[in-house]
């Protein structure tokens, strides 16, 4: 069982040993291992995106009393691959008056950011592609850079709907970044670390969701807003601004936005699983399976919310963040601090 748990670590160790015995220098070995991790993370990302796409459509259908895509492949599993191939085959049409460089760069940036986030996640004990001791900070910092890319897309398209979408994204993401970060602070205080692996490890026995239910609520709401998922999907509100920032995108460029959106969904769900659901902690099954399972549970909850709620209004949603979520999360931090002190006092005596 332990072997199964550490399967990937053992493989990695074996590969390193192999390279040592072949006389690779330490630097070269690191580079090769980096490449292998990159390939593994990319593969994980693609598989997950394709699966989430399928699950999203099937789950939506089931909520709506219908069956959903069930023709391509068993249970329609290959539907998203079919769609991806279709999108690749399509012509990418660029508006004549677009700001060409900005327009071309934006989808790449969005997708790269989404991909890098995967490198930071602890998939199991010691299983992080890039292990940073301030991983959480880096995660938040990096995920907010995609705002710039989205604004670029909105600006570069030279379309009023796109620009409105871009502006809405900026307003929304910046507003909700604050409660998102504050909601994580409680967890950081409890675990005493910003290393995602150590945060997971700190939840041995007791998940932080039980210690930080308020923070979890704030996290969930602000994560939805950060992801621009329903009920906070004003940035690509089909009924209002057509498709928001990616109105003018087609073909593979559109596919990049689309995949980045679902990739982000998975990585934020994974972050939630790491922070509040104990990451890879769990009995019997290997850690990475626990991690994936918890992440998928988070994904399903987010989808469930999406297919149930109508869209909120932009200004009311802003008010909700400034007037409710931020005070709530600050209060939570305060209470967490008091709680920790009391706990230390009680245990210390």
């Amino acid at each position: 069982m332990q072997t199964l748990n550490d399967l990937f670590l053992i493989v990695a160790g074996f590969l390193r040993g192999l390279m040592n015995s072949l006389g690779f220098t330490q630097l070269l070995a690191d580079a090769v291992m980096g490449l292998i991790s990159f390939a593994a993370v990319t593969a994980l990302l693609m598989v997950n995106v394709i699966l989430i796409l399928w699950v999203d459509r099937r789950a939506a259908s089931f909520f709506q009393e219908r069956l959903g895509p069930n023709r391509v492949g068993p249970l329609g599993l290959l539907q998203s691959i079919n769609d991806a191939v279709k999108l690749i085959g399509k012509e990418s049409i660029m508006p004549k008056a677009a700001d060409r460089r900005v327009y071309r760069l934006a989808p790449l940036l969005v997708f790269v950011v989404a991909m890098v986030l995967y490198g930071l996640l602890p998939y199991g004990k010691g299983m992080t592609a890039v292990n940073l001791n301030a991983g959480l900070l880096f995660f938040i910092a990096l995920s907010s850079t995609s705002t710039i890319a989205i604004l670029m897309a909105g600006w570069g398209s030279n379309n009023k709907y796109s620009l409105l979408g871009g502006m809405r994204t900026v307003a929304q993401v910046i507003t909700y970044e604050i409660p998102l970060a504050f909601s994580m602070l409680g967890v950081v205080m409890l675990s005493g670390s910003m290393d995602l692996g150590q945060i997971s490890a700190a939840q041995h026995g007791l998940w932080f969701i039980f210690l930080q239910p308020v923070a979890f609520f704030v996290f969930l709401v602000s994560a939805l807003a950060e992801l621009t998922r329903s009920p906070f999907d004003m940035t690509e509100a089909e009924q209002e601004i057509v498709a928001g920032y990616h109105t003018e995108y087609s073909g593979m460029r559109f596919a990049l936005f689309f995949m980045a959106e679902y990739a982000n969904l998975f990585s934020v769900a994974a972050l939630g699983a790491v922070l509040f659901l104990g990451g890879w902690q769990g009995p019997i099954l290997p850690g990475y399976l626990w991690f994936i399972g918890k992440t998928w549970a988070m994904v399903l909850v987010i989808l469930w919310l999406r297919w149930t709620f109508p869209r909120a209004r932009l200004d009311k949603m802003m008010k909700f963040s400034w007037k409710f979520l931020i005070p709530l999360s600050i209060l939570n931090i305060l209470l967490t601090g008091v709680g920790i002190k009391v706990y230390q006092y009680v245990v210390g005596r």
Partner: protein, 144 residues
């Protein structure tokens, strides 16, 4: 309390998630259409007396009855055509027909690739093919 409505909504969708689905898997599972359903037309060549009432009744000029005067000035049907591309499926022709020669069928698969294919034709008993077949003569999906 604020939020009750949200939770209620979540329960509703969860309930429907588990309930029976309404999707019909179309080509395998055909809809059970009522007998009156106006899907497409059937035409009884033997019953038709080429009176042209249907042609008159049609609001859109969809129907054309071609006939010639046979013995005792009796009309003989040559060809009966309906350009379903213009058809409103209102049923006035069916209502007008004194012999029930034209009637509705619930069969609704009318999709076709060319505009000409939307012209349904039935050849009357008196029909003789033209000596030089015209290249543009439309195919008759229901031809007899």
């Amino acid at each position: 309390m604020l939020g009750i409505g949200l939770v209620q909504g979540l329960f509703t969708t969860a309930k429907r998630f588990l309930m029976k689905k309404v999707t019909q898997q179309y080509p395998e599972e055909l809809p059970d259409l009522p007998p009156r359903s106006r899907g497409s037309f059937g035409f009884d060549v033997d019953a038709c007396i080429s009176c042209g009432l249907c042609e008159d009744a049609c609001p859109n000029g969809v129907i054309r009855v071609e006939y010639f005067l046979g013995e005792r000035n009796k009309r003989q049907l040559l060809r009966y055509s309906m350009n379903l591309g213009y058809c409103l499926f209102c049923g006035l022709c069916v209502e007008a027909c004194p012999r029930d020669a034209i009637y509705f069928k619930p069969d609704f698969t009318l999709a076709c690739y060319r505009k000409d294919d939307a012209v349904f034709q039935w050849r009357g008993n008196a029909y003789r093919p033209p000596e030089v077949p015209a290249a543009s003569a439309p195919a008759a999906p229901e031809g007899k």
